[in-house]
Symmetry: D2
């Protein structure tokens, strides 16, 4: 049974002091092959190229999201009462497994393959796999319930919000964790105060008015982490190059240049084949980088050059986009230098608003519990109001081999 308990196990964690586990089911999931595989995928694959200590994995992030969720169930006033025992367990599993389908350099991958990691997570949970069998044995209703929570289809939206909403366990963990491991102070915010001021109103997770400053801080943390870390131009350069490499692989398959027999996961991801759970299990940074190593000597010059560049950090350079004329001139240079712009050029636009409570996107609204009832955050915080009305920051860069810039 899923509520079979153990002597509580604790894992030391720099973000949360300890990760507490007292359900056998959670312990078994942590030790499953699919979750252990996340040790072999960096949380910030491309940011490592800039922040050399950002070497943490999706495994430790998954433990962190689980731990915040566990604390929310225990500590957020009124939450436990809204959840059945079953739902509490399903929610904890969903937290731990929310990223289980992630592959290496997912964003670059998904640019080319159009298979999204969210779908793979759900597939690993609901179709035969190690975690699937662990879940089935604990309670056969679990896989379906977890899948619904993760895809925002569970009957009580609250459960999905806790994992993925405007103030969720996922984001709170990754901001704190990425800040710690990059060694920047930007991602800091007062999670203790946020947890203390969260409340349940109707079916919604809201924040008491006394928590508004902590929320403002959290929004700014998010904003800074995006611009200082996630959108760092050198990270984006790495991502652009990996996308090009995937594109070239895909084109090679389509043009019959290469079949990648030794890397079946690539075939599956770059074609329209159904991807099996076994294939997902074989996809991690080890297998991907290992493929890159062999590609360095491939007869296809683009494959070998791009692989070698990524492995040895000879990254594309970049300039700010100024005009289409400038762009055309750059593409010209690229061609003159003997490169194919299809793979050796990219225009990359980064844009991020700290907080956007669009009418049409209720899911991103943060609600504040005031003495006069619930109010949307930007009506309570003058700083957020200012930001909402302000212009979105955007940054367009052109990427190409350095000698062409």
């Amino acid at each position: 049974m899923y509520h079979q308990t153990l002597e509580e196990k604790v894992l030391r964690d720099p973000i949360h002091e300890y990760i507490h586990v007292d359900l056998q089911l959670i312990w078994d999931l942590i030790n499953s092959r699919e979750v252990q595989r996340l040790r072999r995928i960096h949380q910030l694959g491309v940011s490592m190229m800039v922040y050399h200590t950002a070497e943490h994995s999706r495994f430790s992030h998954s433990l962190g999201v689980y731990e915040i969720t566990r604390r929310m169930i225990d500590e957020v006033s009124g939450l436990k009462d809204q959840l059945t025992d079953f739902e509490q367990v399903a929610l904890l599993c969903a937290a731990l497994l929310h990223d289980v389908g992630h592959g290496p350099f997912s964003h670059a991958f998904e640019n080319v393959s159009h298979v999204h990691h969210e779908l793979l997570s759900i597939q690993l949970i609901t179709q035969p796999s190690h975690i699937h069998s662990i879940l089935m044995e604990a309670d056969p209703r679990l896989p379906e319930a977890i899948a619904k929570i993760l895809s925002h289809r569970y009957e009580k939206p609250l459960l999905s919000q806790i994992i993925s909403g405007p103030i969720d366990a996922d984001r709170m963990d990754y901001l704190l964790r990425d800040a710690y491991f990059t060694g920047t102070s930007y991602g800091q915010f007062d999670i203790e105060r946020i947890l203390r001021t969260l409340r349940i109103e109707g079916e919604r997770l809201v924040v008491k008015e006394s928590g508004v400053h902590a929320i403002e801080d959290y929004i700014m943390a998010r904003y800074h982490m995006y611009w200082q870390v996630y959108y760092h131009p050198v990270s984006r350069s790495t991502e652009v190059m990996i996308s090009s490499l995937f594109q070239r692989m895909k084109d090679c398959i389509e043009q019959g240049i290469e079949t990648f027999d030794s890397a079946p996961f690539i075939q599956a991801f770059l074609s329209t084949q159904k991807i099996s759970n076994d294939t997902i299990m074989n996809l991690d940074e080890v297998s991907f980088l290992s493929l890159l190593m062999t590609l360095q000597t491939h007869h296809d010059k683009i494959l070998s050059d791009l692989s070698s560049r990524v492995l040895h950090r000879r990254l594309f350079g970049y300039v700010d986009f100024k005009s289409n004329k400038q762009k055309e001139k750059l593409i010209d240079n690229i061609k003159k230098a003997g490169y194919d712009p299809h793979y050796y050029f990219d225009e990359d636009k980064a844009t991020q608003a700290p907080y956007r409570p669009y009418k049409e996107d209720q899911q991103s609204q943060i609600w504040i519990l005031t003495q006069q009832g619930l109010k949307e955050l930007s009506t309570v915080s003058v700083i957020v109001a200012a930001i909402v009305k302000g212009k979105e920051k955007e940054d367009i860069k052109l990427y190409a081999p350095k000698e062409c810039l």
Copy 2:
């Protein structure tokens, strides 16, 4: 001579790791009676009532401002070249002495007495005192130069900006220090990065474009510290009460009720007398709280009641201001309860904008050094632009004895 050096002395400091002193003159000033007196004045006199660990003194803050200034001279690219040896020393002294005229609960005091601590600082520096004689012995030009730096009259405005400008040593130290000692995370920002990206352009301290995010963070830190700490309603309650008490003392003197012979500093501050340097030296929290203790049994009921309330933390309560009618009703209640609203009521308005680069107030503008030349911060940072255009936050509260609310 002022550049006589010592074997470098270091003082452990949680904010800056160490305070480094290698000039005999600075060491002598630190040990002067006027600077040691700052040990007896809390940096955040009224905030201690809310944040119980905010017990740090103006003494440690003064050392911190000195240390940041010392680092700026050493580390800000191009700064040293703009300063003569004499100016470097004068600047260090100005940093250490910038708050030397502060008294206990200065803001409450200054509401009533209209003597400002800035003027007292200058008086202590330029007229006979212990620090005056230390300075004169080192170089007779020092007192005047320091006074000019502190009052923004020095011929090179850069020197004044370093102590007191939009990004200055004073503010950088107090934000970090107050955050550390209150135990909040709000005041954190990346001072290392700011120091690395400061530059001198013309006669101005400016920030390289790569430092914009650190500056945004610093502005938000300031904003949060104001609302979370400095404007905390309970702190303001304490300030309101101390102001009332000063007002009552002043009125008692004017009405011949009391002369405060045993506390000559009070007489001086609350009358139009010239305040001597000796009087300033006798003014600290020890002498002030000691006076309060004796006042607890004073025959004047208002003096005794307010003193006792402050000492034993029986503070006024507060409500948000809603209407003049509400306010009148409250004043009525106060009267009915037998209190004189002149002393037992206050309307306190707090207002603070994170950053206001008004045209007319060039001193508060932060300038960014971009590839296209100098630009004012809000034209470079979309987040600051948003804030500048937004509404100022303001908060009006009414204070009175709790039973009247």
Copy 3:
């Protein structure tokens, strides 16, 4: 009733994140005159002369000891079951009030007056006072129970051990707190792990074997804090001078030179008079430093000189003790310089062993719960065993005015 609860109140604290208060009784005690008075007594009165940021008060330490005790009751496996509801409350009160009788510079004071702060704490609790009446109203059995806990006379020794034993809330708070506020890293140890590995065996607080490393670290933290902070020679110099000043005051009273009418607390402390609770209330650093200020101009040259030295930090110098001959020569110099060695000389011996589990002093033994049963710490830890067998560190210094050394 004492278990009347409030909406939980929390106080931000840098050591424990938050101090949690959910009993009205505790809240009332915190706001009592006697506990608020502790705001006016520095935790490390003399260390401030060396570590300028060590400006925290006994008030915040008292809150910290309360908080650790509260956590121990909640978190130490098996502890709650050993305590009645009444005992839990009494224990929390004892934690909060354990230092309530402390005066300014207690150690220097107690060298001369032989009134110990522990006795004054008990007097304030058991005889009419503000806290006494708060306690009586909550439960008339409380004052006696708390007094017994604090004086190790309570029938279950466990309660006393929690406040004052080899691993107690008092020491854990002050090591962490003093480290934080001095800005040193020496006092750090892993309190989370210690709390997790504490167990109750029989009537004793013991540590699970898996906590031995955390305990070793705690013992080293203690050792380092003693030598780096508490026994710093400049701190000891301040203490020596304050002792001399007290001695001179006492002698002046006895010789009829001065009666200190304006400082009745001094009369009481330095004579054989019974000290009333009112007298204790008037004794704090404010009243003491205020007395020192007036003494600066006293006609007794020793009183005025020593007061002025302490206030303006003109401290005695020191040399290591080498021989009696050296000592005699120094005393001679002191006399020749016109000083009375009775007040201007001291031989101060500091000695501290990290851990001394003497047979005769069972209270200082730390017991470890191993698979083979309870074992005394030094039989389990080779590092502690080594230390126990080693020589005690001692340090003898001679103090005198600098010009005599």
Copy 4:
């Protein structure tokens, strides 16, 4: 030329705030293929199995050792004067490259292969490779000088001591770094104070007496990290298993069962072949784990079972060694369960003294500069003296599949 400077580059680092690079040569080495390869080798390969966030690489550690060395050259009083410009550069290179020959899970590897990473580092530096050519271009004397520094054969022993001595840049970085990334507090010590109190005496790096407490703390940090992290029984279990796996690979080669043609690095390491620089370049965790993945389905049952166990964290269990009889019984159980004890059993002894200044091992002695001249640490520190005289801690464990214990 090697002293060609760049605009200083900085890399954010949580341990040292920033890594500062101002030599083109160092920048080129950081970006070399051999140093970038260290990104693919975890600093604490087996500890990750216990401390899930210990996912940092030898790459970031190498940067850290470089940075401490850089600071030592700049900040240790008198050091710069002892070094020629050439030696300063050679020392910085040696710091950065000291671990460049490390492979994955080196300790387990070296148990079986008897090729040591120190030799491989020297081979990569002195024989044709990417770093070799970078060094040669800067100054042809560099490879030899660096090799001598790393192997303690350089004419001035001081240079070697800085990288690898009793208080060296290597250890200082790894203790702080491993503590940060495991999230434990054990490895903390005051590196600022150590750097401030280091001095050069004769040709030796020594510590001023005022640094003794910081050194005591450093020694305890080392001790605790060994027992809490490096010798954690679960880490050792992983190491034991990887050793067994290497052993099995070696035996398979010798017995002609498998040739590992697809993993040429394994052939080289496990035979007596000369290992080429290209082979080293192909050896990292990616290639090793990738090999393990393919071995999971190998027809040799031991290879496939051990590979699968390591990848999916089905680790051996352990018991404390008590007697030879117990051990024989365990081996019997292992055989009965159908396992070959040659691969499924190990007796592992961990032993570590915090500090051992053996007469015969002068290199591990720490010297303190006192007013009475140089003294060996244990004659100055009573706590170290106690530890030196104490018994060494040792811990012998028996490892086997859990069901056999």
